[in-house]
Symmetry: C2
Subunit: 164 residues, 2 copies
């Protein structure tokens, strides 16, 4: 796992995206507001949001009217993409080529084909992501209810001025 990965990072990331999914195209939400909405430590949530931005799940605009919004329509962003962005692969399984170490090390020849252990772990990861890739952000209800979140958002979003 990447250093500093939070165990609850996936939960925070998906819940945050479900709120961002309610924004209109000209709206964005500052990270600080998201932290208030979920009553979370802003620095930790900021780290999660940055991972999402690096992965292209959200985009951020800086400045007075800045904030986060989804990088695509909710129906086009799968839960799998959000989960990958939080460093899932590293958390699931890391192969350090242990078979190449010590007195019974596999030969470089033998190491040309993938290790059987890594292969079965990779198959499991694919099954995991297959479930998550079949669900988009538009498929999930907003926990706590859409109406409450929309009302709160109305008071806290930043609206980007339309330029003519």
């Amino acid at each position: 796992m990447r250093s500093g990965r939070l165990p609850q990072g996936v939960e925070w990331a998906v819940h945050a995206c479900l709120v961002l999914a309610l924004l209109r195209p000209d709206e964005q939400l500052p990270a600080q507001r998201l932290a208030e909405l979920f009553d979370l430590p802003p620095a930790y949530l900021a780290k999660v949001m940055q991972d999402l931005a690096v992965a292209g799940v959200v985009v951020s605009a800086s400045g007075r009217h800045g904030g986060y919004r989804l990088a695509a329509a909710p129906g086009e962003l799968t839960v799998g993409r959000v989960v990958r962005a939080t460093g899932l692969a590293e958390a699931l399984f890391v192969c350090t080529e242990i078979r190449g170490r010590g007195p019974c090390a596999a030969t470089p020849e033998q190491c040309r084909t993938p290790c059987a252990v890594a292969t079965v772990m990779r198959r499991a990861e694919m099954a995991y992501l297959e479930v998550l890739d079949a669900v988009s952000l538009a498929d999930l209800p907003v926990p706590g209810g859409r109406a409450a979140a929309e009302q709160w958002l109305t008071a806290h979003v930043h609206r980007v001025k339309e330029r003519s």
Copy 2:
């Protein structure tokens, strides 16, 4: 994830079990020897082996002739059991009931049914484990080759004296 969980813990655990699978019923292998075999830091490997022991995948005997062996026949121990023992569930997903926090918190009523996010994550975990539960330690070749490992073991196992 449990504190101190190693990202490469799964790799080490499965490879170690594949070596223990070669032991005869009256043999056991000290953790220190396993660390030598894989050229790994003994303290870190010891932690992984202790997790396996807590989960009932391996058993250990202490004392001069002590060491680890599998808790069951290799064909009866699935990769899924080994992977679970390393703290997989905590690494995959942790729900901290974020929906119950902040100004738009779900009501206790709403929280009686599982969160949709947790539900889809659980479904993915089940698909993941289904793949790993279909593979036993007996299904996997010994990386580096069985012959080399068996030869090395002959020189390093502890044999338990048969009592009559």
